[in-house]
């Protein structure tokens, strides 16, 4: 085809020239672009697949038939344990308990500032509990929490990749320059992309938690044990505590999306972002955090703070040396310290990304 593409009639039929859109409108456009991306579909499929597999595993574990098998195993082990314990003289039992309590006290004294120590010495001759054999009725909240906690890093990583590629792909395709010829206000453009990536991350987290809840509900409904099975009720997690924990997971996954977009905006390359993150996780979070300063640097690393935020505080292991030598002790890290750390790191990252995007040439 050849000829003039444009005639005087090619102009808009409405002669009102568009004068831009609001920030919310811009975020809406970015969300539309995020949704249209193939990566978004890949992430959704991955989340559905992960939750599906996890729910299936929970279903297998809580099947009445599986519970009946475990109850049988449990009964024989209890009988065997009772028989063995009956053959141990009472004074020997008391001596073993006493020794255990001395070790407990010694360890507790060495971990000043650490988490309290409980060796459960008094229970050392008791038969194992049914719960330790997994003989508990399927409970929705417990299953949901289990799936979500195990999926936290996967959901977070998926959201991170989604956010990183969402921004970096624009530089790779060269369409960022084209975009800026339509909306040249860089901070506004950059912020809209970060917000969209964060919202995308929240959606990934929300989907994961939602599907986990749905899967857990199905599992508990299908696997409700009959009255003939002597199954203990699962420990009840207070509803608001469980909900808080799930919301924190969603928030962390949202931060994953935002973080991906921030690093994508700084590095402008999806491959570069993935390389940086894998390098960081392997070298810094896994090696440096525990290898230097006797492990006491861990509160300053991402993993500890994410765990602390989601789990309402966490512990990490550090080496503590005294006159008797060095011991590995468990150290607490609070929820408050975790969320403050995450807030500061996120704020610094967003600010750096926007300043860099504002100042750097787009070629």
């Amino acid at each position: 085809m050849s000829g003039t593409l444009l005639t005087p009639e090619s102009g808009p039929r409405t002669r009102v020239r568009p004068t831009g859109t609001s920030f919310v409108g811009l975020v809406g456009v970015e969300l539309r672009r995020l949704w249209w991306r193939r990566m978004a579909k890949v992430v959704l499929v991955a989340v559905v697949a992960f939750v599906g597999v996890s729910a299936y595993a929970a279903y297998q574990q809580t099947r009445p038939e599986a519970l009946a098998e475990r109850i049988e195993d449990y009964s024989s082990i209890v009988a065997e344990t009772t028989r063995q314990n009956a053959s141990i003289p009472a004074d020997e039992k008391a001596a073993q308990i006493e020794a255990c309590q001395r070790d407990e006290a010694a360890t507790g004294a060495d971990t000043s500032g650490g988490a309290p120590v409980d060796f459960r010495c008094e229970q050392m001759f008791d038969p194992p509990s049914p719960e330790s054999f997994g003989i508990v009725a399927a409970e929705r909240t417990a299953i949901t929490s289990s799936i979500v906690e195990s999926g936290l890093w996967i959901f977070g990583f998926l959201a991170f990749i989604l956010g990183a590629s969402f921004v970096a792909a624009e530089f790779a395709a060269g369409s960022m320059g084209n975009w800026l010829t339509f909306e040249p206000r860089r901070v506004r453009v950059g912020t809209s992309k970060l917000v969209a990536a964060g919202l995308g991350g929240l959606a990934v987290g929300g989907l994961g938690v939602g599907l986990a809840t749905l899967g857990a509900t199905l599992v508990t409904t299908v696997n409700r044990p009959g009255a003939d099975l002597p199954v203990a009720a699962a420990p009840i997690v207070p509803g608001d505590t469980a909900a808080q924990s799930l919301l924190r997971v969603v928030a962390i996954v949202g931060l994953g999306g935002l973080g991906g977009a921030v690093i994508g905006l700084l590095l402008r390359s999806t491959a570069g972002v993935i390389g940086l993150v894998v390098g960081w996780l392997v070298l810094v979070e896994a090696f440096v955090a525990s290898a230097f300063a006797e492990g006491r640097l861990q509160p300053w690393f991402l993993r500890t703070n994410i765990e602390g935020f989601v789990s309402d505080g966490t512990t990490y292991f550090a080496t503590r040396c005294g006159v008797d030598g060095c011991q590995t002790v468990s150290m607490p890290h609070s929820y408050t310290a975790s969320w403050i750390y995450l807030l500061v790191v996120t704020s610094l990252g967003v600010t750096a990304a926007l300043l860099a995007f504002r100042a750097r040439d787009v070629t």
Partner: protein, 320 residues
Amino acid sequence: MDVAVRTVNLRKTYLSRGSRRVAVGGLTMSVPHGGVHGFLGPNGSGKTTTIRMLLGLIRADSGTAEVFGEEVPRRLPHVIDRVGAIVESPKFFPTFTARQNLALLAGAIGSPAARVDEVLEATHLRDRGRDRYAGFSLGMKQRLAIAATLLKDPDLLIFDEPTNGLDPAGIREVRDTMRSLGAQGKTVLVSSHILAEVEQVADTVSIIGHGSLLAEGNVRDILGGSGVSQVRVGVASPDRAQQVLEAAGFALTRDGQHLLVGTDDPSAITRALAGHGLYVAELVPVRPDLESAFLALTADEGLGSESDRLAGGHAPGGAS
């Protein structure tokens, strides 16, 4: 003169691995309002860098630039709705369809969704709207880029090397489009290193080399100002004819069996040759072109190597 684009002492230097490269070295130029303005220079002369600075994509080290009287990039948001641009090759999201790409851009400027259909129709892409951009030919990509610029109904259209990689039909399509836009009263700034392309569509031209302005004005004035007006003479005895014409005071050069004679009066050549029994078999006025003008302009600027990188599109001295 009503000016659409103006730059004053615009300068941009790139730093790369410790070395400095001046891409634009104090460029001062003006693009008049309305019509097609050629932005001509060899590859690497700073055209794309200048355009990127006008669009706020890269920052100038110093100097000022204005679009419709508004300083850019500071006031660019105030005029961006009047500016449509295609910088180098069209760049869209490859896995999205043409319609999706346009819908996103329309959303960014608050243009109604119906406008997407209008511009797809205007650029003959309506039937391909649901096809992925990655599968488009270069010509279709160029059309989609033009469609994107039309979402705004701009007063200034900037085309950077718009015919690169296009087939002859595509080149003619884009050329006609630029002419049409200029005829509609819009300002079209077209950068190119292809002299013939600019010469065919441009009313005015800025010629740059090494990031500085060499000449600016109407194409006709530039051509006239180059001082090049020649006649190609074919004659049976070129050696003898050369002696006769040189003796008569004509400045000339040999071009194989032809003579290229500088004169504004071709009849003086026939008279001089006929007076010595030499009869002209061929007498063709060689219309001055931009390449000649450019060569003349750069002769004293030490830009010979840059001139070599200009694609003339026709033989030196040949009429287009």
